[in-house]
């Protein structure tokens, strides 16, 4: 991925570089020409914003787990959009399953085997992309399917829907930040060493 330099060399005062100086006035001293400096600082800020945001998804509330990092490691030049594609598929798959679950639990005689099969699928796909809180909500849901407890299952369904909406929102925000970085000529940081 193309690296974007961030700062001028130490010999040039930053204020001068950022001012409306003619474009060639410091090009002989700057590592980066003045007109690019503001652009590259924006990219740097965006990259830091992306790192902070991604970090919070893992560490603060556990929306994502290490499996998401595994997905990122599978992405390469041959499949540069792999993560977005898998996550988009997860969104489609989940929305279908949540619809099916709502329908199944709305029936007079609830078919708990069918409900459990849907939850099992959602648990599997959420696990595979690292959507930890959705996965955990599905685990609890399956326990109540086994007990054939309709009310508890309905409560679990609400919980799963909530967790899904939150993680969808978080991931879409993350992807938007990535698009902004790339559009500004930067690259997505690959160092996520904060995950143990």
């Amino acid at each position: 991925m193309r690296k974007v330099p961030m700062f001028c060399g130490p010999s040039v005062p930053k204020r001068r570089c950022l001012a409306q100086a003619p474009k060639d006035s410091c090009s002989s001293k700057c590592i980066v020409p003045c007109r690019q400096l503001k652009k590259t600082m924006d990219v740097g800020q965006m990259q830091r914003q992306w790192i902070d945001y991604t970090k919070s998804l893992f560490l603060e509330k556990g929306f994502l787990d290490g499996q998401f990092l595994q997905l990122q490691q599978l992405q390469d030049e041959n499949n540069p959009d792999f993560v977005v594609e898998v996550v988009s598929l997860f969104f489609e798959d989940s929305e279908r399953l949540l619809k099916d679950l709502t329908f199944a639990l709305d029936q007079n005689g609830v078919d708990f085997k069918k409900v459990d099969a849907h939850v099992h699928q959602l648990k599997g796909s959420s696990s595979s992309i690292g959507a930890q809180r959705v996965k955990n909500a599905c685990i609890a849901f399956r326990n109540f399917c086994e007990e054939q407890n309709t009310d508890a299952c309905l409560r679990c369904l609400q919980q799963v829907k909530q967790e899904y909406c939150i993680v969808k929102n978080k991931l879409e925000t993350m992807f938007r930040l990535e698009q902004q970085i790339v559009a500004a000529g930067g690259s997505i940081p690959t160092e996520l060493s904060f995950i143990g």
């Binding site: 792999f82 997860f90 599997g124 796909s125 696990s127 595979s128 992309i129």
Partner: protein, 108 residues
């Protein structure tokens, strides 16, 4: 003479997991085909195709991994079959292994 590309059949009903497994196996150079359930896997073999590796999910609609594995072995299919499941209970794993697996891996 160029070495032959190894082939794998991914038998998995979930689209998301199928995509992840495809990417993993592609990235190590395998040529991939997919089946959405055990019955499709049987039909693919019935048409004369064979694979170096079969990655077999356990819980699938229409025909599950246990039935599919037993059927493939009874058809004389000697390919390496690796079972994949989230199940971690020893009895469940043993049941799957006894169907004719060569190996078993747990998925997230």
């Amino acid at each position: 003479m160029e070495p032959r590309q190894l082939t794998a059949l991914i038998v998995e009903d979930d689209m998301v997991i199928r995509m992840v497994h495809q990417k993993i196996l592609n990235s190590v150079g395998l040529k991939i085909q997919v089946a959405e359930n055990g019955k499709e896997a049987i039909e693919i073999h019935g048409s004369g195709q064979s694979f170096d590796l079969i990655l077999m999910d356990r819980d699938m609609p229409v025909m599950n991994g246990i039935e599919a594995t037993k059927t493939l072995r009874s058809m004389g299919i000697n390919s390496m079959i690796t079972g994949v499941s989230t199940r971690s209970v020893a009895a469940h794993i043993r049941e799957f292994m006894e169907a004719g697996l060569d190996d078993y891996v747990e998925k997230p």
